[in-house]
Symmetry: C2
Subunit: 443 residues, 2 copies
């Protein structure tokens, strides 16, 4: 029995531990066993010390039941751009190969206090800022990328090596691996969770992201991080009678056969369950959002990577050196216009999104591409990162090769809890009838 604990969601394992049917140590050992069997193939971890994990689990088990937190014993896989006490933080950069600052990021402080078991550090692209993949492979097909930059957290959660993963998103680094690994991914409203202790690429774009295999788990995390809308979310949202919109966006030419088919199927499913679905587009004057995103990103990289460039330029990825040296010759005028144009777009897009239960849009062009050298396209994610809106990747569809494809639901800023409530019901439908099933990837 306890050897299957690793297959549970966080919410499920919390119930077992609360009922006295499992200890945190049992649970940790089950996860470690799964990792032991699968790590040679998936390689999701940048740092994992089983002894440390067991030691922490025992500490949690020793806490009297009356003093246990709401995440008591829940294992969390942490992207290695987020500081953690007791574990090194290295950003997949040789510059930080021997660093292990004894400091917890703000998000980690909150999770630890809630009783989470900070399990290990997961792989990332260098500084979560480039698209050259780390060693990690897609758990559903080792010949394919798990996506990036939150490669390890996405793969670990997709492979039942952890129920919860922390990622980050500056372009598409949370949502894209969510889709490729067949899991739920939640990019909350920008700055609704503290980024203290999370490596900076772009202050105005970087967002902490969350992975889970159920929306209930994401809601538990949203509670833990005190994410609140102005109005309480619907307690029993019904797809029937709800009004959705579908948005292809200006980057639709990037879509693949799998993404396009998933969108069609999703619209059919929503309609078949009694929803109204209308197709909408962003106003034409926002067609340059992807270019504005790129301009802000590159300019912010000029500031963000100056320290590493100063210390060891030769150890920094060429793309990031290019940011610091401003090889694209982006003027301050162009930088500010992009920044200001995105700023002006946010309330406009909020108003548009606010007319619907949620807006459906692709997470990625298609299933995970072959190879682990590159982490795939972020084309469909980055506009929402710039707009600061919450996004949930809902799994359930599949591509030509049987790999998972997810779709995004989007809502206005600070409608995170409503979006989760809607995502829960939509996810039930997509997971049941979208065509892809989350089987435990083989040992």
């Amino acid at each position: 029995m306890s050897s299957d604990l690793h297959t549970l969601t966080a919410t499920e394992v919390l119930a077992k531990i609360k009922a006295g049917e499992a200890t945190v140590e049992d649970y940790a050992r089950s996860l470690l066993k799964r990792i032991d069997a699968r790590d040679a193939s998936v390689q999701a971890w940048a740092y994992l010390d089983p002894d440390y994990v067991i030691e922490q689990a025992k500490v949690l088990d020793a806490i009297p039941t009356s003093e246990r937190g709401p995440l008591h014993g829940v294992a969390v896989a942490v992207k290695d751009v987020i500081y953690t006490k007791g574990m090194p933080t290295q950003f997949n950069s040789p510059i930080y190969a021997s660093d292990a600052p004894e400091v917890d990021a703000g998000s980690i402080i909150v999770l630890r206090k809630a009783g989470a078991l900070i399990f290990g550090k997961t792989t990332t692209t260098e500084f979560a800022a480039i698209t050259d993949g780390p060693k990690t492979r897609n758990p559903h097909d080792p010949n394919r990328t798990p996506g990036g930059s939150s490669s390890g957290s996405g793969a670990a959660v997709g492979d039942f090596q952890a129920p919860i993963g922390l990622g980050t998103q500056t372009g598409g680094s949370t949502i894209r691996p969510g889709s490729y690994n067949g899991i739920y991914a939640f990019k909350p409203t920008w700055n609704s969770i503290t980024r203290e202790g999370q490596k900076i690429y772009s202050l105005i774009l970087d967002t902490l992201g969350l992975y889970a295999r159920s929306v209930a788990d994401l809601e538990l995390l949203a509670d833990t991080f005190a994410i609140q809308d102005d109005s309480p979310p619907p307690t029993n949202f019904a797809v029937q009678g709800a009004k959705f919109a579908v948005m292809k966006t200006m980057v639709w030419p990037n879509i693949g056969a799998g993404g396009s088919a998933a969108m069609d199927k999703a619209v059919s499913l929503l309609r078949s369950y009694g929803s109204e679905v209308e197709e909408i587009e962003l106003p034409d004057n926002l067609n340059n959002l992807p270019q504005w995103h790129a301009t802000v990103l590159n300019s912010d990289g000029r500031t963000a990577f100056l320290p590493e460039y100063s210390v060891a330029k030769e150890k920094v990825a060429e793309q990031l050196v290019g940011h610091v040296e401003n090889v694209s010759k982006i003027s301050r005028k162009a930088q500010l216009e992009a920044f200001d144009n995105i700023s002006a777009a946010r309330p406009v897009v909020d108003e548009l999104l606010g007319k619907y239960a949620a807006v459906l849009t692709p997470s990625v062009p298609d299933e995970a591409p072959l190879g682990i050298e590159k982490t795939g396209s972020a084309a469909f994610c980055l506009i929402w990162t710039a707009l600061h809106t919450p996004v949930v990747n809902i799994p359930g569809f599949k591509g030509e090769n049987g790999l998972p494809i997810g779709l995004s639901l989007v809502a206005p800023r600070y409608h995170d809890r409503k979006l989760l409530a809607v995502s829960k019901k939509v996810g039930e439908i997509f997971e049941a009838e979208g065509g892809w099933k989350r089987d435990l990837p083989d040992v």
Copy 2:
């Protein structure tokens, strides 16, 4: 001779070290002697280890001259909300009383690589986020506040205990102590210097700030941090024939007799040197900028201090607990309106400011108030923090009690180098004829 090294600016001491007339160790010992004589009165330091300072100075002296950086040996006082290897970082919070993570902030990495001598940590209000003063006293009058939240850095530079100080500004935390301590203070364009490793209060407001006793030193730092405008700054800006504006702003009712007299005198001086000075105001629809700033600040505090609140609410200042608990009942709608309204104001204000060599506006209402319990009013600073514009505090004036008063020059975003070039010439006039002289505060 070498016993007076502490009186030099960074630019001056660099020349002496380069000429072989002083070693970094000589210089460090001169500063330590000054601190030893003055610390009982000023108390600028949160952490200072003379042995560590001398050890670092010796390391710098051992570097061959051909390999020395542009800041070789320049002592830097670091506000204790910025991570430093080899020194604790405690944010004036009992929660972090025993923490000393071995990590350098991005700004510190750049400064160390340039050869700076990271001297010690200076006092701050709790998390640079409240107005209850730390132990530090104004070097020009120990019965008065040095301002805050960058209390120690401002006082140390004002008292010749360090030539350069790092501060931060979310409301008025860099410019206000600049004025109270009679020094130059530079708040560069938001995000033009990395904030990696600097405690977060508000992502969209927090800005690293710089202190010095000359504009040449600020230019040296701007070079070090690769701050560049689109156009090279004027190499020999002339006050004569230049066009300035003076702006009282919507918060003018906060002005005191000293601030008002300084503004009048500054305008007279600029005119007497052949400048055109016209009085302008921000558009009426920006009158709520101070309220929007407060709304964003409080809302961002809700996110920023959740970790400390979770761990030890009883050790967090009441004001910050109030942010986390949202005692002001700020809705997400109000938060976003404030955020978006400020965003929309930025390009409008840039255009207005861009018509002038610089815009003159108060830094503070008056000279430093009596008492060290409170750090003074940030009323005149916070709108510029929200607008992301560069600001330089120029010393030179004085209040009724003989304490220094500075005035701010403001320019559009990313016109930092132009603003420094203008500030240099204006500063020469204000320092010579404004009425306040920077005497070495008595031992």
